[in-house]
Symmetry: C2
Subunit: 427 residues, 2 copies
């Protein structure tokens, strides 16, 4: 990791710069595939599945017997772990239920805000080396709590046409309604437009490579909502001399093993900690199966030494990390001052992996500084808020003249007349 000591404020922006997240170079290519899926449906999905993923399943809908078989191939230890994690994720997301708000803003003018589930949601789970059943948990549990009627999941099978059993087991456990063997741009296109086999959904969730991300962006322009824009995963650690260097190194490495483009930053006010963490990094790195990936990610990563706690907090809020670990003496008061982050891990015994799997918080979080304006996935992501108003004749007498005044001033006379005509009927 590169070390920067006491950088001037003018240098901060450069230091915290992320690689450009510009997918527009992919847009033409991805749009062509999307257009074909919109036009030819399942036929186009099969064609591109064969081309990109090397398979063409006869039946892309996963059957009940495949799910039953998968369950036999998941160890009871893993089932127990998934079950415990599910309970925690459920508890935390159930606590996010918002009651209906009813306000009588003026006598006879009653306004309500009501949360209503998005009817059909689509979850994308990438394939590849790591079978991300934890992401199934994170995306489907809140959908179920929100009472979404249709929860569709797309994930690419291996070349043998099979989906990892832990993914199938988790999807079935948490109540996914339909699972399809489709990956990549094809999966996003199928769920955005619908095909004869795959239902069109109202919102698409989930991570993916740059093609999937570009496809999500393109369909979000007019066809369907998406969870959030995505970029490479990130962690920032805020630490002082009370931190345990071995713990810090293990956290930095768990981010670094995600991919060579992972962003890892350590901000500290302790020079000693820096050297200790670097020694730990070397030692721990050697033991990792994904050593090469992690090592490349660390090459692009930064350690920043600052003087004051206030500066450390300011820099953090200006970076807006996806994950933030706070390992400092005043951990709670510092956590209170964090205004831009996806999820925050407070104290020496709260590794990022806790939130990645099982503490109860969601692990689908805003990267690339999007934490300045976006929330991570939460119960709200599966709901929309509809407002209602009901005005009594007396209420309209009270509020009507203000509406007439304002509508007249905006030169919208039909708007004004909709009130006038009612008030006249009450005379």
């Amino acid at each position: 990791m590169q070390v920067f000591e006491y950088p001037q404020k003018e240098e901060w922006a450069d230091l915290l710069k992320r690689p450009e997240n510009d997918l527009s170079g992919l847009f033409n290519k991805v749009q062509t595939i999307l257009d074909e899926i919109k036009k030819d449906g399942d036929t186009a999905v099969r064609k591109y599945s064969e081309k990109f993923d090397g398979y063409a399943a006869e039946e892309i809908l996963v059957s009940k017997s495949e799910i039953d078989e998968a369950s036999l191939n998941v160890s009871s230890q893993l089932k127990e772990a998934i079950y415990k994690a599910k309970l925690n994720v459920e508890k935390f997301h159930e606590a996010q239920i918002i009651p209906e708000r009813v306000v009588e803003t003026m006598p006879g003018v009653v306004c309500r805000q009501k949360c209503v589930p998005i009817e059909k949601v689509g979850l994308y789970i990438p394939g590849g080396t790591a079978p991300l059943f934890s992401t199934v948990l994170m995306l489907a549990v809140p959908a179920k709590i929100a009472k979404c009627k249709e929860i569709v999941l797309c994930t690419p099978p291996g070349k043998d046409g099979k989906i990892n059993p832990a993914i199938l087991y988790t999807a079935s456990l948490v109540g996914v309604t339909k699972i399809y063997k489709i990956g990549g741009v094809q999966a996003i296109g199928s769920m955005a437009y619908g095909t004869d086999t795959v239902p069109k959904v109202d919102k698409i969730f989930g991570p993916g490579n740059s093609f999937v991300t570009a496809a999500k962006q393109l369909v979000s322009l007019k066809d369907v909502a998406i969870d959030m824009p995505a970029g490479p995963s990130e962690v920032e650690v805020l630490a002082d001399d009370s931190a345990n260097p071995a713990f810090i190194a293990s956290d930095l490495l768990s981010q670094a093993e995600h991919g060579v483009d992972s962003q890892v930053i350590l901000i500290t006010n302790s020079k000693t900690l820096i050297s200790e963490v670097q020694i730990e990094l070397r030692n721990q790195l050697d033991l990792l199966p994904r050593k090469e990936i992690a090592s490349k990610a660390l090459d692009n990563s930064r350690i920043i030494l600052l003087n004051e706690t206030a500066e450390m907090i300011e820099m953090t809020n200006s970076y807006a990390p996806e994950h933030l670990i706070i390992a400092m003496k005043d951990e709670d008061s510092i956590a209170d001052q964090i205004t831009n982050a996806g999820s925050v891990f407070v104290g020496n015994y709260t590794p990022e992996s806790a939130g990645d799997y099982a503490s109860g918080t969601n692990h689908t979080l805003p990267t690339h500084g999007y934490a300045k304006a976006y929330s991570g996935v939460n119960l709200d992501s599966y709901l929309k808020k509809i407002t209602f108003q009901k005005i009594s004749p007396n209420g309209l007498k009270i509020i009507g003249p203000s509406i007439e005044q304002m509508a007249g001033e905006e030169q919208l006379h039909a708007h004004k007349n909709a009130v006038t005509i009612r008030l006249k009927s009450l005379e």
Copy 2:
């Protein structure tokens, strides 16, 4: 208005079709302007303001004295109306404040969800014939309640370099921090990238023409969040024979006067009502200053006659209107069955204009069927939800083994090790 009697279900999709909302034809042109603003800042803003809006203000930041002068030019009646509307919008949006959620998911595992204001928001208010000071109210009041630090507003001045006094007065009343005389793509670009004069914001809100909408979509791909995708405004009226045909006609017309592309739909189970409404439409239309616009919009609008209440509700949820007026005997029970709509107006004395101006609900709402997945602007639109977790050593002993099990199974060994190394230290 075209009348469709008892259409078959297979015909519904065609009947409810909106005009294509495809802005991609504008993207190249708009992107070129955005790129220039990103590169040249204020210079490019001046160039395009001159080109498109026919002015080039020396000083684009509105001064204190301009605001004071504007206040003198707003009548006391209008001030009072705006003040009353502001109180209602405040009451309804204050009721949307969500307390921090704290859940101990397992002993020693404490998870929190906290709402934090988006620091900098940008509001766009279009120019043109109607001075939309009501939109200033709708966009700035919740920003203030959310405690956003910087509330920037851009709006194009007239050719005389002046902004409508009602807009300036309202902006100042509700606590907008900076007002700039910039319109169109230039406004969106300035707020997305920042210039020497205009601060970069984290999220952009507000309506606009197709150029503004295209610009918002383009900057949302990687630079800044936006409130929601936008299309032409819409109203649907659900009515039976208990409805007042004159009221219905006045509501249809208040949507129709917005623009020739406005969408207006009446769904009813009463043949008599249809003829009565048509007579009322002709009579009321003649009295409107914006008669030509409204009349063109009505030509593209539809009246649909159905048999059953259940069908009427199903069709409504499948259309997902921006505004929905319910003028039926069982108005409350029907309102309860609405699952896709922006804002709902219940009963004979609740015209859409009430919500447009003063009832308390927000008038920035999802059009084009986006109500299936998007909420209208509400307090949440100005907040992001950050999660926190804090695990005690004992908590980690309880939850740790599940994390190790899951991380190992996903082949993310550094994730596993971040737990193992901590558990070992506790042995």
